[in-house]
Amino acid sequence: MNLTLRIWRQQNVKAPGGFVTYPVQGVTPDMSFLEMLDLLNENLQAKGEPPVAFEHDCREGICGSCGFLINGVAHGGRRGTTVCQLSMRFFKDGDSLTLEPWRARAFPVLRDLVVDRSPFDRIIQAGGFITAPTGGAPDANAILVPKDSAETAFDAAACIGCGACVAACPNAAAMLFTAAKVTHLNSLPQGQPQRDRRTLGMVAAMTDELFGSCTNHGECEAVCPKKIPIEFIGKMNRDLIRATLHHRGE
């Protein structure tokens, strides 16, 4: 099949960007979306033009490297799928697709479809951990974790940190990402001693990093490749109130 791609091209973080249109011929349904871009890049390089920069690594939906908007939808709109898992089977001959990077003030565009997501690391630094210096841990079975808590923790820990939730949110909020980590650690008995500190620290970091606030649009949940539910934001908000009350007057 033949496609027309309209792709955001931007030389570097300071340069202005713009859309450039490229035809792609000979796309087959067994290709993945990124393999289709590989094909475009091979053709561009043959013509002496710079290939389109995009991030990717595992190409099986787990590393969180890839992601851009396809016709305005993060990861292309197939439920529970990263763009690297998206098959060309779901497109048809003559389709016209617009590809652009995550759009958020906190995620500057570094080149073409590549953005800087380092604010996510700094949100983790603000409390997204359990302090357990190597060597001092008790026997693993000394800590009982109810199966339900373990399941909730896992559902939240499945977040791959791709940034789609930020890109989809009209406010460019990082609430789903932050709530996932808060829920993961706050659901476990091991996470209790630092529960308040963690919640307060991570929420403050979110604001410091210029992410917006949640106004319950639910776009984040719709595009999340790991299907992290929006109810975790509610859980984080409850923990935030709890922590704020515990720390009144400090």
Binding site: S32, E35, E42, C58, F129, G135
Partner: protein
């Protein structure tokens, strides 16, 4: 040259004894010592976090945008530990025994025993960090059995064990970043190693956003940069996984151990076309209920459902009546290749075999099959568009893991003083074949529990003069790196990096993959240098080195694969025996099984770089088996 430094005494006491003998660094002095750690996967992140906690000044480097992206995340199955929580006869000795035997007697006993001992501490550590392992209703940890062993010792977090363990280490690392003890250098790729007076004292990196080439000095350097399966172009490894850090260290004097030992995983989704960029692994657990077959007749193009039962060859069940579809990874892979070579393969290009669940569905009902394997069937359908409840899956082996890597002694130090190597990047613990759920165990053992002892011991036992990046050695190596990068950019030829990489991959897969012959290896040894010439004369990189340039990044990695590929073939050629994942067609039993030759090859090979153009010298580390006795594996 090869001093393995294995401590004396009974195997159970070696690690304990050497831990006591190791020198310590006074807590007040630790801040004065800088440690460079390259790589932030399980081994790198766990080492960086642990050494940061101890008070060292750690610089950690990753070419990813975040340390959390390292390829350790892709491990699905689980992590082994000799906890014996199941009361089913497991023990440290049994895990040690299984690993030595599974590695087909080509690993160092003392290292493997230590790995088994440490395995129990790893689970404790990870649980304390909040890794959400699977649980029983009573709140205790759940385990499952894995990879043909007879005990249930594999801890898991759904199908994402690697991701969850890495997040544990990553979070501990970020905590240290916040505390100021670790400085994280993301999007920064190591391009060379700097030696001062024969000791590793720093690295040269390229900033992948600006292209800036910079030096970084330290007292000791750790490489935890993963494996090199991408030399085959197509593998289950992530696209950016590469050998550059270890290869550059090899060129500076670090010996390379067992380069030809590669693990080929039997259950991957077959290649569908020339455009394929990556292979996807399907969990091995599918072989518990799926039956592997191909048509008996050559070139049979009928749909699987049209091939009657008596015209199908369930070749694993036929050849290995006692293990059937559950033979180890290397045996299953090799047999799939053989039937495809006989022109009995299925699917596009004939490089695939059926993994059929019809009998399982008939026996257990579709509901139960869905419950057990539903997510895998969904994943298969997402990629291939085929419903495996209706038509058999098609699978084919794919490169998955490299057991070889830089040679290290018992302390995990390479032959360059001050250069330590951890995780898949070293050659140490898996011999000629790695057992399932052991890669995560080894990465974390090295990072959490071995390097935090052996690095301080090195620092405390050596006089390390003060060195910073103003030392002339840094300027000299930096200059070489700048020239190397410029040379690639300035070829201005006709071929893209990917096209050259694919050609190398095809050669490696054809002649240095699942089965290897003298003729095939010799042909590769003649063709790889020619392809290297092609690379340096006809490469086409658009743009410059002073910007984010993904083609340039790839080119640097492929340049090193073009040298490493040659060494792999050389190693495979000299090892004229079959062992583990290394199958030499000249060394097989009368019924076509792998034949090990302990009389001539009971050693680890360690290759010394002797200059450009395919010159190496082979050193041998003899292997002694005092606790697990040498025996031929049989799965008949």
């Amino acid at each position: 040259m090869l001093a393995s430094k294995i401590p004396s005494g009974p195997i159970e006491q070696k690690w304990e004894k050497s831990r006591f003998e190791m020198k310590l660094v006074n807590p007040a002095n630790r801040r004065k010592h800088t440690i460079i750690i390259v790589g932030s996967g399980l081994a790198g992140a766990s080492a960086a976090a642990s050494l940061g906690q101890q008070g060292y000044n750690v610089d950690c480097f990753s070419f990813h945008d975040s340390p959390r992206r390292a390829h350790s995340i892709a491990a699905q199955g689980g992590i082994n530990a000799a906890k014996n929580y199941r009361n089913d006869g497991d023990s440290i000795f049994r895990l040690f025994y299984d690993t030595v035997k599974g590695g087909d007697f080509r690993a160092r006993e003392a290292n493997v025993y230590r790995l088994a001992q440490i395995s129990v501490n790893i689970i404790d550590q990870c649980v304390a960090q909040g890794v959400p392992f699977a649980r029983e209703y009573g709140g205790l940890l759940d385990t499952r059995s894995f990879g043909g062993v007879q005990v249930s010792r594999t801890f898991y977090a759904r199908g994402q064990t690697g991701q969850q363990l890495l997040l544990g280490a990553y979070q501990a690392l970020e905590e240290q970043v916040a505390a100021g003890s670790v400085k994280m250098h993301s999007r920064s790729e190591m391009l060379d190693l700097v030696l001062v007076n024969g000791k590793a004292r720093g690295i040269i990196t390229r900033d992948l956003v600006t292209g800036a080439i910079e030096g970084h000095a330290a007292d000791v350097v750790v490489l935890a940069t993963g494996g090199y399966g991408n030399v085959f172009y197509l593998s289950t490894n992530a696209k950016a996984t590469n050998a550059t850090a270890i290869w550059r260290a090899h060129r500076r004097g670090a010996l390379f151990g067992n380069p030809c030992f590669t693990q080929i995983h039997p259950t991957c989704i077959p290649v569908s076309s020339e455009h394929q960029s990556k292979l996807t692994l399907m969990s091995e657990s599918l072989r518990n209920d799926g039956r592997v077959w191909v048509p008996k007749k050559k070139g049979d193009n009928r749909a699987p459902g049209d091939i009657p039962e008596d015209e199908r060859d369930y070749y694993l069940e036929r050849r290995y009546p006692s293990f059937g579809n559950l033979v180890p990874r290397d045996v299953a892979s090799r047999n799939a290749k053989e039937v495809c070579d006989e022109d009995r393969g299925v699917g596009p290009g004939g490089r695939g075999v059926y993994l059929d669940f019809a009998d399982a569905i008939h026996r257990m009902g579709e509901g139960q099959v869905r419950e057990k394997y539903g997510n895998l069937f969904d994943m298969y359908e997402e990629i291939t568009g085929e419903n495996a409840y209706k038509v058999p899956m098609r699978i084919f082996p794919a490169v998955h893991y490299t057991m070889g890597g830089l040679w290290v002694d018992y302390q995990l130090m390479s032959t360059i003083p001050g250069l330590f190597v951890a995780g898949e990047a070293n050659f140490s613990d898996h011999g000629a074949n790695r057992l399932g759920a052991s890669a995560l165990m080894q990465g974390l053992a090295d990072g959490y529990f071995i390097l935090p002892y052996t690095l301080p011991n090195y620092i405390a036992s050596n006089t390390l003069e003060k060195v910073d990046t103003s030392h002339p050695a840094f300027a000299a190596v930096k200059d070489e790196v700048v020239k190397h990068v410029a040379k690639m950019v300035n070829v201005r030829g006709k071929r893209t990096v990917d096209s050259i990489h694919k050609e190398l991959g095809r050669m490696m897969w054809e002649n240095c993959g699942m089965s290897r012959s003298e003729a095939g290896l010799r042909s590769n040894l003649a063709r790889i240098p020619a392809l290297r010439e092609e690379f340096w004369h006809n490469l086409n990189i658009i743009g410059t080195g002073e910007e984010l340039n993904q083609s340039l990044e790839k080119a640097g990695r492929v340049a090193d694969f073009l040298e490493l590929g040659e060494l792999m073939c050389l190693d495979a050629l000299q090892r004229a025996e079959s062992c583990g994942g290394h199958f030499r067609v000249e060394s097989q039993t009368t019924d076509g099984e792998a034949l090990r030759d302990d009389e001539h090859f009971c050693y680890a090979s360690a290759w010394e770089w002797k200059g450009d153009g395919g010159q190496w010298e082979l050193h041998k580390e003899p292997l002694a088996f005092e606790y697990v006795h040498l025996a031929q594996r049989s799965y008949k």
